[in-house]
C-alpha cells in the first residue's frame, strides 16, 4: 500500500472512531452480564435502631428544685464517671464537663448587687451550652470541633491539635485542656468509653454515645427531675412544654451564641 498522507489520515480517522466506540460497547456488554450475576450486597453504615434524633437537642435546668450541693453532685459524678473525666490534683489543670457554680458567675450580666438569698447562694450546674451559633466551631482551625446534625457541638479528638482557640472563644469556660496525660488521674476507668490523651481539648458531648442507643444523657438521668432533655424544635417535646410555660433564661444570650441550655431560676 502506498504510504501517502491521504491513506495515513484515513487509517487514523477509522482508528479514532474504533477507540471511541469501545467504551460504548463495554457498557452494553457489562449490563448484560450484570443481569445474570447478582452483585454481593455492599457493606453499609447506618444509625442504630434505637437511636434518638432531633434537629437540635436542648436541656432545661429547673434550679427551683435544687436544695443543696447534694442535689447537683450526682449529676457531676454520673457524667465524669462514664466519660472518664480525670480528677486532676492541681486546680489549674482541672478537667470538667459539668460543674457547679454560683449565679453571679453563670449569669454575670444578670446578677444584682442584692439578690434573693436563695439565688445568691444557689449552686447551679453548668455545662457546654451546645450553642446553635457556636463561636468555638468558628475558630477551630482543623474542624476538630463541629456542630453535628443533631445540634450537638462535638469534639473529634482525632483531629484536635491542641491550639486552644476554642477555649478562648467559648464564653462559658466549657472547655478544658489536657496539659498532662489524664489516664493516671482517672479513678475508675469506664472501658466502654475512650479516654483522652495529653494535648487535646475536651468537653461535654451531650452524651451523644447514649443518644445513639436511645438513652438520655447521664446527668439528666441522675438529676432526679431537675434537668429535662428533648428536641428544641418540636413544640410537643418535654423541653418545649417547660420552656413554653415557664420564664427561662440562657447564659450570656446577648452574645448571640444561641445556647441550647435553658435555666429556670
Amino acid at each position: 500500500m502506498k504510504k501517502g498522507r491521504r491513506n495515513f489520515l484515513k487509517i487514523a480517522g477509522i482508528s479514532a472512531l474504533g477507540l471511541g466506540a469501545k467504551p460504548v460497547l463495554d457498557v452494553f456488554a457489562s449490563s448484560e452480564e450484570d443481569a445474570v450475576v447478582e452483585a454481593p450486597a455492599e457493606p453499609r453504615i447506618m444509625r442504630g435502631p434505637n437511636a434518638m434524633t432531633a434537629p437540635q437537642w436542648a436541656m432545661v435546668i429547673d434550679t427551683r428544685k435544687i436544695e443543696s450541693h447534694s442535689d447537683v453532685e450526682p449529676m457531676i459524678e454520673a457524667c465524669h464517671k462514664i466519660h472518664n473525666v480525670p480528677e486532676m490534683p492541681d486546680k489549674k489543670h482541672e478537667i470538667k464537663w459539668i460543674w457547679e457554680t454560683e449565679f453571679k458567675h453563670a449569669f454575670p450580666n444578670l446578677a444584682g448587687e442584692y439578690m434573693s438569698k436563695r439565688v445568691e447562694h444557689l449552686g447551679l450546674p453548668v455545662l457546654c451550652n451546645h450553642c446553635e451559633n457556636p463561636p468555638c466551631v468558628r475558630v477551630c482551625p482543623t474542624k476538630a470541633t463541629f456542630r453535628n446534625s443533631q445540634g450537638i457541638v462535638m469534639m473529634d479528638y482525632h483531629r484536635c491539635i491542641g491550639c486552644r482557640f476554642c477555649m478562648a472563644a467559648c464564653p462559658y469556660g466549657s472547655r478544658s485542656f489536657n496539659f498532662f496525660d489524664p489516664k493516671p488521674h482517672i479513678e475508675e476507668e469506664n472501658k466502654k468509653f475512650p479516654t483522652r490523651m495529653r494535648g487535646v481539648v475536651e468537653k461535654c458531648n451531650f452524651c451523644a454515645e447514649r443518644l445513639a442507643v436511645g438513652r438520655k444523657p447521664a446527668c439528666v438521668e441522675a438529676s432526679n427531675g431537675i434537668m429535662a432533655f428533648g428536641d428544641l424544635h418540636d413544640p410537643r417535646s418535654e423541653v418545649r412544654e417547660i420552656i413554653d410555660s415557664n420564664y427561662t433564661i440562657r447564659r450570656k444570650q446577648n452574645l448571640g451564641t444561641r445556647p441550647a441550655v435553658y435555666y429556670i431560676i
Binding site: P40, A41, E42, P43, R44, I45, M46, R47, G48, A51, T53, F146, N148, S149, Q150, M154, D156, Y157, H158, E189, K191, K192, F193, P194, T195, R196, M197, A208, A212
Partner: protein
C-alpha cells in the same frame, strides 16, 4: 577520535577504592542475608475462634483494617452513625474498644505482633483502652 589505549592513572588506588565502596554500599544486604525475621504468628482468642468470621473476611481485614477503622471513626464521631452492616447483612457497633477489642482482647499477641513486625506505631491505644481483659 579518542585512542583506545587511554591510560587510567593511579589504577591500583582507583580499583581498590571502587571495591571498598561497593563492599560498603552493599554491606547491609549481605550482612543480613538469611536473617530475615519470619512473619509473626497471630494468636486468636477463644472468642475470636468461636466467632470464625470477623466483620469482613480475613484477607480484607488483614489488608485494610486501617482504612475500615478510619472510616468507622469518622462516621461515628462526625455523622453520628454507629452501625456497620457488612456484606453478609450482619450489623456491628462501630467501636474499636467495644467491638474489635472485645473479641481480640489479646492485644500483645494479636495487634502488637504485626505492628511491631511492620514497624508501625498506631496511637489508637492512647485513648481506646484495650478492652477489657488485658492486665495492665
Amino acid at each position: 577520535m579518542p585512542s583506545n589505549n587511554q591510560k587510567l592513572y593511579d589504577k591500583d588506588k582507583v580499583i581498590a577504592g571502587l571495591v571498598i565502596f561497593v563492599v560498603l554500599a552493599t554491606f547491609p544486604f549481605w550482612y543480613n542475608l538469611g536473617k530475615a525475621a519470619s512473619a509473626p504468628e497471630l494468636e486468636l482468642t477463644d472468642k475470636a475462634k468461636a466467632a470464625e468470621k470477623c466483620v469482613r473476611d480475613t484477607q480484607y481485614m488483614r489488608n485494610e483494617h486501617m482504612q475500615l477503622l478510619d472510616e468507622w471513626r469518622d462516621t461515628v464521631v462526625r455523622d453520628a452513625k454507629r452501625i456497620y452492616v457488612n456484606e453478609r447483612n450482619m450489623g456491628y457497633d462501630m467501636s474499636l474498644s467495644n467491638t474489635c477489642l472485645d473479641c481480640h482482647s489479646n492485644k500483645e499477641q494479636f495487634c502488637d505482633r504485626c505492628h511491631n513486625y511492620t514497624s508501625v506505631n498506631p496511637y489508637c491505644w492512647d485513648c481506646h483502652i484495650d478492652n477489657p481483659k488485658e492486665a495492665k
